[in-house]
């Protein structure tokens, strides 16, 4: 399995990426998740946010 660099993952998931400075992350775990999530997966969920923001 090709391990992508963390910034690829943040850019893929988070609408407002803040990075991971100061925290330990498992690139293997994050890469495994990314390989299983659909391409259009985003955080936060825009539909829910449209109800409360």
């Amino acid at each position: 399995m090709e391990l992508k660099v963390p910034s690829d993952l943040y850019n893929a998931w988070f609408l407002y990426p803040a990075g991971s400075s100061g925290m330990a992350v498992s690139y293997f775990v994050l890469n495994t998740i990314m390989e299983n999530l659909p391409d259009n997966y985003v955080i936060p969920d825009p539909k829910v946010m449209s109800w409360i923001e």
Binding site: Y16, A18, P38, W51, I52
Partner: protein
């Protein structure tokens, strides 16, 4: 068929919902289907598949999710700790479910709207998705809030971020699903009221394992009851939404006019100390006993003369069905799903919700009328035998599965 039963909540301690999932899974396996149960293990804060070595620690991604949410321009979310906690946690749930794998099932049956919404967000193909609404998330959140702020109105609650967030999860979970399964007309009405088409909803009542119940009830309950007093009983969680505080107040009123009763409260929960203290204040602490959690409710019910279900809200309480099956005369609050379980004066009695005086009057009525207690209890048990079998629940649910898969 390969089927996933999945809940966002704790698979390890879900009470009636875990029982429902297990009973459904057992029946499906008996009919040759492969069934997995997925949920959260609260002890290790992980998403897991029961009975398998498949587990994902939410803690491996939660700090990352929280840091990114905290930096986002979302002032309402940041101002509501409950919504912030659920949002962070459900994204961790989504990542965990994705890592464990959900795309190889023929049908996914979510047990709550959060699970349904989460699963739809992570599916890579259009697998049929069914969601069960076992209760109302928003209204339970409202009653939880009322335990701290009793004067809070429903309108006030649902206009705040906490209420809007729960309402969004319920609506979007229903919208994301191909069909919706409910056990009561009350829940169906709430979903339709939120804007979901009624044509998308199927109603199948819960069943009870009658042979297992009768086998358990044949055991002698170890605690003796006072032969000179009638025994009033409640079984369930000691939480505000269950309305045990209403029962205690009603017993306080009852003690002013008669002393021919005792009450056993069976169960545990956050209100235990508060309820015990209130019994002392009302001078009924010798009449009301808190037995905690017990492992043989059917056996305990054999001791009861009257069962009370005082919930402020309940969809189709399993504890009331158990009391009915045991042939115990039952009194339930006339609200939400409970009146669908009791035909007033035929299979039980109803009282005005959150009204101790109304409950006290019904208790006094049944204490004075042993013949009516017997008749109500008998008719209730016959009604359960006819309408609440596991076979009926399975057949109804299977028809919905077939509708979804074209089987």
């Amino acid at each position: 068929m390969k089927i996933l039963l999945v809940t966002y909540w704790w698979l390890t301690s879900m009470g009636g919902i875990r029982t429902y999932m297990n009973q459904l899974a057992d029946r499906l396996r008996t009919h040759g289907h492969e069934v997995d149960l997925m949920g959260t293990d609260l002890g290790t804060n992980s998403v897991y598949v029961a009975g398998q070595n498949r587990r994902f620690s939410k803690d491996s991604v939660l700090p990352l999710i929280r840091q990114n949410l905290a930096g986002a321009p979302l002032p309402q979310l940041h101002g509501c700790p409950q919504a912030m906690a659920i949002e962070s946690d459900r994204y961790a749930f989504e990542m965990g479910a994705a890592a464990l794998g959900v795309n190889h099932y023929d049908l996914i049956h979510a047990q709550d709207p959060i699970a349904a919404l989460s699963i739809r967000r992570i599916l890579r193909s259009p697998i049929p998705l069914l969601v069960s609404f076992h209760g109302s998330l928003a209204r339970e959140g409202y009653h939880d809030s009322r335990s701290f702020h009793p004067e809070l109105t429903w309108t006030e609650f649902r206009s705040g971020t906490y209420g809007k967030h729960y309402a969004s999860l319920e609506y979007l979970g229903a919208e994301a699903s191909d069909l919706i399964l409910v056990s009561s007309g009350w829940i169906k009405g709430l979903i339709v009221e939120s804007g979901i088409p009624a044509a998308k909803i199927r109603q199948v009542p819960y069943g009870i394992d009658i042979p297992a119940f009768l086998a358990q009830s044949s055991a002698e309950f170890p605690k003796a009851k006072n032969p000179d007093r009638k025994l009033i009983m409640y079984t369930g969680r000691l939480e505000y939404v269950k309305g045990v505080q209403v029962l205690i107040e009603a017993l306080g009123l009852l003690s002013r006019t008669r002393s021919d009763w005792k009450c056993w409260i069976i169960g545990d929960g956050g209100m235990l100390t508060q309820l015990q203290n209130r019994c002392v204040e009302l001078g009924i602490d010798r009449e009301v006993e808190f037995l905690g959690v017990i492992d043989n409710i059917p056996s305990a019910l054999k001791k009861a003369d009257i069962y009370v279900q005082p919930s402020l809200q309940d969809t189709q309480p399993f504890s009331l069905t158990e009391a009915q099956l045991a042939g115990v005369a039952s009194i339930a609050a006339n609200t939400t799903g409970m009146p669908e379980m009791i035909q007033e004066g035929v299979t039980g009695l109803l009282f005005a919700p959150e009204d101790p005086a109304s409950l006290c009057a019904q208790l006094s009525r049944l204490l004075s009328n042993p013949g009516e207690r017997s008749t109500l209890g008998y008719h209730a048990s016959q009604w359960v035998f006819r309408n609440r079998t596991l076979a009926q629940m399975y057949q109804g649910t299977w028809r919905v599965y077939q509708e979804l898969t074209g089987g």
